[in-house]
Symmetry: C2
């Protein structure tokens, strides 16, 4: 299993993406805290966090008996850079900003 394979497989599950959303909103949470946000047993959440950590999308730090989880944006940026070059990036951000502006006006 290659590194990028681990990243994309990790992102393929909606529960794991939701965990990233939670960490994007606020970093440094424990398993138990994250578990309370999902309708799933602790074991399921722990398994998902392990997949995210092995993919490098989440990094952890131990503090006593607690394990704190942090979002790592680097692999996400690398996905972006794989299929969007500098020129396209400028076009696409302009387009998306325009779309957002139009939606706000309506």
């Amino acid at each position: 299993m290659t590194d990028d394979d681990r990243v994309f497989k990790a992102l393929a599950d909606p529960s794991r993406r939701f965990l990233l959303d939670l960490l994007f909103a606020r970093d440094g949470r424990t398993l138990t805290e994250l578990e309370s946000e999902l309708e799933m047993t602790r074991f399921g959440v722990a398994k998902h966090l392990r997949v995210l950590e092995e993919a490098g999308l989440v990094v952890t730090r131990r503090s006593g008996r607690e394990k704190l989880h942090f979002l790592n944006p680097v692999p996400i940026r690398q996905i972006h850079d794989r299929w969007i070059d500098k020129y396209t990036e400028h076009q696409i951000t302009t387009l998306i900003d325009l779309k957002r502006t139009l939606e706000e006006e309506s």
Copy 2:
């Protein structure tokens, strides 16, 4: 199945990512042309292209009996924007550019 679920599921397979790489290098290819680049039957490739198209990562245009395939970067950029805010984007691009520079020097 939500839109973003289709996108991430589509990206979870290495053959499909390779197809995106091929289209990133050169757009507007037919199924038969793409098939010759993979070690897989035509049916397998067609199935993967269908998944990519339903996810909006690939858009197609018919030309007679041929179907031309094009890469659509919009869903990729949206993945980026989901977990990387403007401030982090600046930090991360600086970091990645630095890393690239160091690797080129060594």
